[in-house]
Symmetry: C2
Subunit: 224 residues, 2 copies
Amino acid sequence: MPEATVARLPLYLRALTNLAERGVATVSSEELAASAGVNSAKLRKDLSYLGSYGTRGVGYEVDFLRHQITREIGLTQDWAVVIVGIGNLGHALANYGGFASRGFRIAALVDADPSRLGEEVAGLNVRHADELEQIVQDLGIAIGVVATPARAAQLVCDRLVAAGVTSILNFAPAIVQVPEGVDLRKVDLSTELQILAYHEQRKNGAALALTAEQAAELAEAVNG
Amino acid sequence: MPEATVARLPLYLRALTNLAERGVATVSSEELAASAGVNSAKLRKDLSYLGSYGTRGVGYEVDFLRHQITREIGLTQDWAVVIVGIGNLGHALANYGGFASRGFRIAALVDADPSRLGEEVAGLNVRHADELEQIVQDLGIAIGVVATPARAAQLVCDRLVAAGVTSILNFAPAIVQVPEGVDLRKVDLSTELQILAYHEQRKNGAALALTAEQAAELAEAVNG
DNA sequence: AGACGCTTGTGAACGTATGCACAAAGTTGC
DNA sequence: GCAACTTTGTGCATACGTTCACAAGCGTCT
């Protein structure tokens, strides 16, 4: 299955869940594509990788398709997750309700700061980073979430991998390297903003995006 | 410039900043590519869209290249940003230091919950959602960050767009539609985890990823 | 000054992703 | 049971992105 398709399955799953909550039983590729914000041919091709689960002339049965995607992604089981780094972001992640409802169970919280130990966050005690390896092994954790400062990210990832974690979601604004066989995805807030800024700069032409330096250059060119 | 290249420029910028902090003056495409985790030919092609800023036989001057990328992305000016939704995640975003140091100034915080009004977060008073349009216009805000619950996301985006915002970064787990000309990027925590789960399921074979239902099927197949 | 070694910048080949357009296959109505 | 209509699943063309491989260019050393 193409990676681009895999990345869209959660999107379809969400759209289907919305439809199911509104009591919709059947949906066409056109409707589903519209509510997921993609092209309908792309949607159909994506779904065709799962198998032939539509009915020509009718569409897709919402609940059935939802179950197939859930199974394909691997959400029929619960995945235990450890969050490393319980600062502002770690707190927010621990308290984020969207995980539990989507098959992910936050099994442990870990921080290196002794002053945070024992603090209760989202019903879990924060444990010390020294225990990381033990926790991962005891709880059979395969997925780690890194929400540490940038300078700690590589070390934390190394330790997670050494302890047996094979998938990491990195929120730290750092470039980390992981060995072959370990999946790493990164979520980077300022990268996203920078991409927006790039397009914003081009949209507004010179008006808003003119720096003092550029304005001087422009003035010189015009006044010559 | 290709979109894929734009998305990597912030990555290069970060790598270059790291090098600059370590006092490195010059870097080859091979080294820079390694520290950014990309192929060196790709890096060179990406940089070639900026212009011919390398020196054959030598490499790239770190500070100079950093400045060029900064300028290309549009970070020579500060961008005013409003965060809508000051829950757990909104708090974390408001307190995230990485914004300010990368050219983004959090100019206002907005929430619909009256009990949060006037609360001081990251040195700013939380203001009521009713003031959103006024705030956006008064402060000349072009970029909005949405950290509301899913059900509020579309409405908030509509209001941001109506008020003049042309770039939105959406953290709400919802599919939102925006008109042509408005850039929308989304950061979705559970989507990322779901993509990891998909690969995790395939890595471990049946071992960890076996559900009760699948185990029953398997048992039947083996014993039957 | 000239030869040598290194690194950039890019043409070309390859691979992946997208979207059109339509045949195949189902449902509905008569 | 057949015709008309709807919608899926997919072959094909096109666009986009990545990687290889190498000529062109720069600095260095003799």
